[in-house]
């Protein structure tokens, strides 16, 4: 845990939030402000480059990575409502620039300054109690985003934040740590495999009898919500930022 509480962070909303879920970016901003932290939004930001990188198009990913490094390189705290985009910067930029020593130095420099939202709240700010309540009486289950868990190693943060809200206790689903089958272009390259993985996730959500699925990545939620919607399962998918923003007084 850091000794200094930052008074200002730079927000990277991610392209998916920008285009499809702006309310997640707004909730992120709102929580940070409620905690007394000033939020900066760099308007030139776009995408970290992950979609291209994951599909093998590293030439297309590199200019976006460089753009990110230019925009955020000097910022002391960079917060993202996505474990996957944070992993891209913290873990995968290293692969992308493995033959470029100079950029690699910048990558190593920026890595420790990038935080996924739940990590930032739990580990940097040290949020352990919140003036909050479970206003909507949600019955919450938590889906672990893969990159958050396995690239960033953040398993406890989001769960402890949720459980911090008085009156809100996670109803664990079976196989919460198993991938929902999204995987970027994997979902359209292998729709049958991805769809079968999604079905397991939907079944586990149903069996948990929760009415709300929470995760720290809008892409997982896009996939899960899309599946639930397709099958008319009345379970709401919300990002951790939205859940906390709604709960905090």
């Amino acid at each position: 845990m850091s000794n200094v509480t930052p008074d200002r962070v730079s927000l990277f909303v991610t392209c998916v939030v920008d285009q499809f879920y702006p309310e997640v970016g707004e909730a992120t901003t709102a929580i940070l402000r409620k905690l007394g932290i000033d939020v900066e939004f760099i308007e030139s930001q776009t995408c970290c480059g992950q979609p291209a990188f994951n599909t093998g198009y590293w030439k297309e990913a590199r200019p976006l990575a460089l753009k990110f490094l230019d925009e955020y390189g000097e910022k002391p705290y960079i917060v993202m409502p996505s474990g996957s985009c944070a992993s891209m910067v913290k873990v995968f930029y290293e692969e992308l620039f493995q033959n470029d020593a100079e950029t690699l130095r910048r990558v190593h420099d920026i890595g420790p300054k990038v935080y996924e939202l739940s990590e930032f709240l739990a580990d940097v700010i040290g949020v352990n109690n919140l003036p909050a309540s479970n206003k909507s009486g949600r019955k919450v289950t938590y889906h672990e985003a893969c990159h958050l868990r396995r690239e960033l190693g953040a398993v406890t943060q989001a769960r402890s934040l949720i459980n911090t809200v008085p009156g809100m206790d996670i109803v664990e689903m079976e196989q919460a740590e198993v991938c929902c089958g999204f995987g970027g272009t994997f979902a359209v390259k292998y729709p049958e495999i991805s769809g079968a993985m999604l079905q397991d996730k939907i079944d586990n959500i149903r069996d948990s009898e929760a009415d709300t699925v929470v995760a720290c990545d809008s892409t997982c939620l896009m996939h899960i919500a899309g599946g639930l919607e397709k099958q008319n399962v009345p379970v709401e998918c919300v990002h951790l930022a939205q859940l906390l923003d709604e709960a905090i007084e």
């Binding site: 909303v13 392209c15 939030v17 920008d18 285009q19 499809f20 879920y21 702006p22 970016g25 707004e26 308007e43 030139s44 930001q45 776009t46 979609p51 291209a52 990188f53 994951n54 599909t55 093998g56 198009y57 590293w58 297309e60 200019p63 976006l64 692969e95 893969c146 990159h147 868990r149 396995r150 690239e151 196989q175 198993v178 991938c179 089958g181 999204f182 995987g183 970027g184 272009t185 994997f186 979902a187 359209v188 390259k189 292998y190 729709p191 049958e192 495999i193 991805s194 769809g195 079968a196 993985m197 999604l198 397991d200 896009m222 996939h223 919500a225 899309g226 599946g227 919607e229 397709k230």
Partner: protein, 473 residues
């Protein structure tokens, strides 16, 4: 083994529809996978063991020439004979030569994945030598004329009914035989073969370089029988199976067995150093060790793939993989399946033919998390994807998917500039209008129908950047 990696997609689709097989695959999560997790948690200093094993593996592979030489010297010192085979064909040829010299008619085989690379059973059959698999799972696979479905549990896909059918056809057991009766019948049959066989062929879990000792891990004792009963024993191993010292075995056996089956120790751990010495009562007159390359030096030569040689073939990544648990082992189309197979099989066969394998992963990292020697499998999958897209495996520079290529080029142009993103968002919102039903896109045309077949897609909205502007003013 003939590669059918090209057919991955269609094979996977068939398996996904097979409810019987799906139920077996599902069991891998609650069974072996959870057993591994439980044992890892119950083992003191598990992560220290992993780190030590990883360091030993990296060191050994970096100095493989040195340790292979040491291993060969010590096997020979113990009275064994060593043959280095550059490929599967050379390895088979050597085995056939030794068999011929010894007038071998019947071979008993311990479990060996590398013999699958060689298609050794077929090679022996062509010379009219009968080879019998003695691991029960492998035996069933052999009787059914199939290939292993899983590194550790080769017949995991077979139902009890199928097994009953196979044994009934081959051993005459009743079709409603109990599991005990079936196992008993197989046991009786295999006992006779153990006694008759002129030659035993096994794989190798490890070869200890400093002593020249072969180590085999089994639960059925068939490894011990295969190495000690026949007059001649041939052990075949991939060149990466070396560990430097006997001390290392303490680490690797802990990791391998717990990761493979969730047992603390397997029923049998067999160690063999050379043929029977004059003062010993048991053991073969001849011991041969065949060390096989068969493409492994390609992995060794590529610093981005070298780590794949650290694999100790425990199968934990298969059990942990949500993709393997859907598509099963045969879909991968060659000897090795699952996450590690998606690297090893393409590289050891033909990467362009196996191009679907590195992409058949959501990059969830469950494999990396499960791996006892911490192999970073997603990193290598990503590397292979890049090589397939922009690198050395596309010799004609012809993009495998021109549509995807154009899509990413176009996407790259748009997202590099927030102004272009704004325009694209605006155009997208206009264009999507006729397709939006209750706030969602429900049926998109190909190729996006691949998405909407299983999920709805969110509609584009006024972007965060624009809302920020108006909110802040």
């Amino acid at each position: 083994m003939t590669s059918t990696t090209k057919n991955f997609k269609s094979a996977a689709k068939t398996v996904i529809k097979d409810t019987e097989v799906q139920s077996h695959l599902k069991g891998l999560y609650s069974g072996f996978n959870m057993a591994r997790i439980h044992e890892a948690e119950a083992t003191p200093n598990w992560e220290d063991l992993q780190n030590r094993a990883q360091a030993i593996k990296f060191h050994t592979i970096e100095n493989l020439d040195y340790y292979l030489d040491m291993a060969a010297t010590n096997v020979e010192k113990a009275g064994g004979q060593v043959y280095f085979a550059k490929d599967a064909a050379a390895a088979s040829e050597y085995v056939l030569k030794v068999a011929k010299e010894n007038g071998v008619r019947t071979v008993i085989k311990g479990k060996s994945m590398i013999s699958e690379e060689m298609e050794l059973n077929q090679q022996l059959a062509e010379k009219e030598i009968e080879a019998i698999e003695t691991d029960l799972g492998e035996y069933l696979i052999q009787l059914a004329g199939q290939t292993p479905y899983h590194i550790i549990v080769p017949a995991i896909h077979m139902s009890r009914g199928e097994v009953a059918e196979i044994l009934s056809d081959n051993l005459g057991t009743p079709k409603d035989a109990t599991i005990e009766e079936m196992a008993g019948a197989a046991r009786d049959e295999l006992r006779d073969k153990f006694v008759q066989a002129d030659m035993g062929i096994t794989g190798a879990n490890f070869l200890v370089a400093e002593t020249g000792t072969l180590t085999l891990v089994t639960n059925e004792g068939n490894g011990r029988m295969s190495t000690s009963m026949p007059k001649t024993h041939i052990a075949i191993m991939g060149m990466e199976k070396i560990v430097p010292s006997m001390e290392d075995m303490g680490i690797f056996l802990r990791l391998l067995i717990r990761s493979a089956t969730g047992q603390r120790i397997s029923s049998y751990v067999t160690q063999v150093t050379g043929p029977r010495a004059s003062e010993e009562e048991d053991g073969p007159d001849e011991f041969h060790l065949v060390i096989v390359d068969n493409g492994r030096t390609k992995m060794l030569a590529d610093p981005n793939l070298r780590e794949a040689l650290n694999c100790i073939r425990c199968g934990a990544c298969l059990n942990a993989c949500p993709v393997y648990r859907k598509v099963g082992g045969h879909s991968y189309g060659w000897v090795y399946s699952g996450p590690i197979g998606a690297i090893v099989s393409p590289v050891l066969t033909n990467v362009p033919d196996a191009k679907d394998l590195p992409y058949a992963s959501s990059l969830c990292g469950a494999c990396k998390e499960a791996c006892p020697v911490k192999i970073n499998i997603p990193r290598m999958l990503l590397y292979l994807r890049n090589e397939l897209t922009e690198g050395n495996y596309d010799p004609t520079r012809k993009k495998s998917s021109i549509g995807e290529f154009i899509a990413f080029k176009g996407w790259g142009l748009i997202v590099k500039d927030p102004v272009f993103m704004r325009i694209a968002n605006w155009l997208g919102r206009l264009g999507q209008w006729p397709l939006v039903r209750a706030g969602q896109l429900r049926n998109l045309p190909p190729p996006l129908s691949a998405w909407t077949r299983y999920r709805t897609f969110p509609r584009l909205v006024k972007p965060f950047r624009d809302r920020w502007k108006s909110n802040e003013q």
